[in-house]
Symmetry: C2
Subunit: 390 residues, 2 copies
Amino acid sequence: MSSLALSSDYVPSHALANVRGSAIRDLLKLTEQPHVLSLAGGLPATELIPAERISECAARISADSASLQYTVSAGVHECREAVASYDDVTTPRRVLLTHGSQQALFLLAHALVNPGEMVVVDDPVYVGALQVFQSVRAEVVALPITSAGTDVDALRELLETGARPRIVHTVSNFHNPAGVTATTQTRIELARLADHYGFVVVEDDPYGRLRFTGDDVATIAAHGERVVRLGSASKILAPALRVGWMSGPPEIIAMVELLRQGADLCGSTFSQLIVAELLDDRTWLDNHIARVRDAYRLRAAALATALSREFGDRVEFTRPEGGMFCWARVPGADTSALLAGAVDAGVAYVPGAAFGVRADFGDCLRLSYSALTPDELSEAVRRLSVALLA
Amino acid sequence: MSSLALSSDYVPSHALANVRGSAIRDLLKLTEQPHVLSLAGGLPATELIPAERISECAARISADSASLQYTVSAGVHECREAVASYDDVTTPRRVLLTHGSQQALFLLAHALVNPGEMVVVDDPVYVGALQVFQSVRAEVVALPITSAGTDVDALRELLETGARPRIVHTVSNFHNPAGVTATTQTRIELARLADHYGFVVVEDDPYGRLRFTGDDVATIAAHGERVVRLGSASKILAPALRVGWMSGPPEIIAMVELLRQGADLCGSTFSQLIVAELLDDRTWLDNHIARVRDAYRLRAAALATALSREFGDRVEFTRPEGGMFCWARVPGADTSALLAGAVDAGVAYVPGAAFGVRADFGDCLRLSYSALTPDELSEAVRRLSVALLA
């Protein structure tokens, strides 16, 4: 019989046709060249991962074959309890463990959003969130972020015109990529608007514990019920544990739990038990996190110093109070066009355009300082100035 | 201001509204009572998980903090290589690592199937596949499975009427739940129909290495290009490693890789390195798998002996050649209605109705023999006969 199908006709679904690849993850490949000092990644510092402690836990826990068996979709109870305690959640029933907090975002979007329904994000946006909302074919509305976080005035105006988003997403602390932290007033208003207009705030907070200057701000969830908080062990313990979590209304937890059965059945019993033990060892954990914070404080300062030294008044940038990212603008520089030259000069960054939804950010760039030492950061910025100011 | 939203109005998306919960996973909770001998689960034998070897690997590998860092979405190269070698795939580029093979199925469906498009499954069906296809809102067509596997004659008739499925899914070896293995003729015909009509065969094969009697049958992928094979470390090494994989056309691998960035970024570097090492240690692996196979052979035989002894001619059942499941029918028994009494009597199973799409299977049940010893299986079947034949 003659063939009706060409061998190359693997037609992507609408879900996929709509998704833009992550420039950042694609860059991971490019920047693996040894001579490149990468400000591009979103990686925590490898040398600060507590490998010795994790290795000891891993050996002991995996020696019991029961910890290598399947678990329930919501996650190992001990770890849900540990997360509830760590993140001030009233009960483990409000916690669901996921394969990194990215999976929490993905499942949440799939549980709550139909094609064509609205989702509001910040501009610039966390690319992983944009990909998720594109994959459910949401109508994505991006509001330019302010120095106080999500632009709640613009959001209110949007809502008053009759717009009814299903989700409003923000990275509340040390925004990726914008570097800003939502103020208390922004948080209160987000929670209030959510209650009034019936959307869900997704409070994406992987970096909250990595504050190295200034005071903690109460969570958005502290101000209202229609908030789902996302957290992760990736930035405080280790990415390869792949343990993230969401906490929120039990009705939403139940919906996501059901969807997760189909998505991947369950998480790793073994990894979740490791995370439970480490979160529960509060003395060790506090010391460990303090060590990471101290290192990032020095690195952020080294980056800022080098930017001022090399660029003078030709750069504007956020001074992050925590987390891993600095958002910079070099007026007149086309950061997308200049990237290849920068990599040749031995430095990588993510062009601002990778994070733009409505806005262009063509002269912006995201600089991650977490994975380089102060000396490396100084040299990286020197190379950057050669590439961008040439 | 007065509230427009009720606090309980977390409306599930269409994706979720369409998904039926997994009776099997819900049962996991019920059967955790200590007095219950569970034939319900799909768990490999806990005591046969190579915990000592995994513990040694885990300790050594996680002591290097680089193995606790993020990895690329397609998975750690060493592990893709190891899987390619283990599963006779021509190149690691055709392999993508996932968080269990369930995630491979989920991503594949999301990459290839739009709402309303057709997917063909066996009846009875692997519930995890049904959930996935429901969550993408596929039109699911179920063809009663035969003793030769997927009913390729019924499939051909369907295709000749103009039906154009995107995916045809089957569990090719030791079908879950039906226990049958697709014959060579069925495999050849599936691959041929896929080439002719342009669908993708999903050859779901978590149990293929667990054959304890009879001869291996060449894979469906060996007969054509439009086949994606799914495999997993869960049944041969340990579920909590959460390492599964898919192999197939590079175009499809690339589509799934893109979707995976949004789904959960990447898998666990750490777990994938453990799996790579264990798959590559062929002498150890062959011995280990032989040990699991031998145990399952004894268990399957003990179950069959007990069924014949306790039920006589009041039961019909498959005699599995491998894997973990036996499919039984007790004419006249309403296995859903009788389950609660069976649990009271100290035995659990999954009622056939949980696996039915068009068919009812009201007098059928799935019995898993992998997790119980021969003596426990004998006692479990005695209790089962009390509950079902009362």
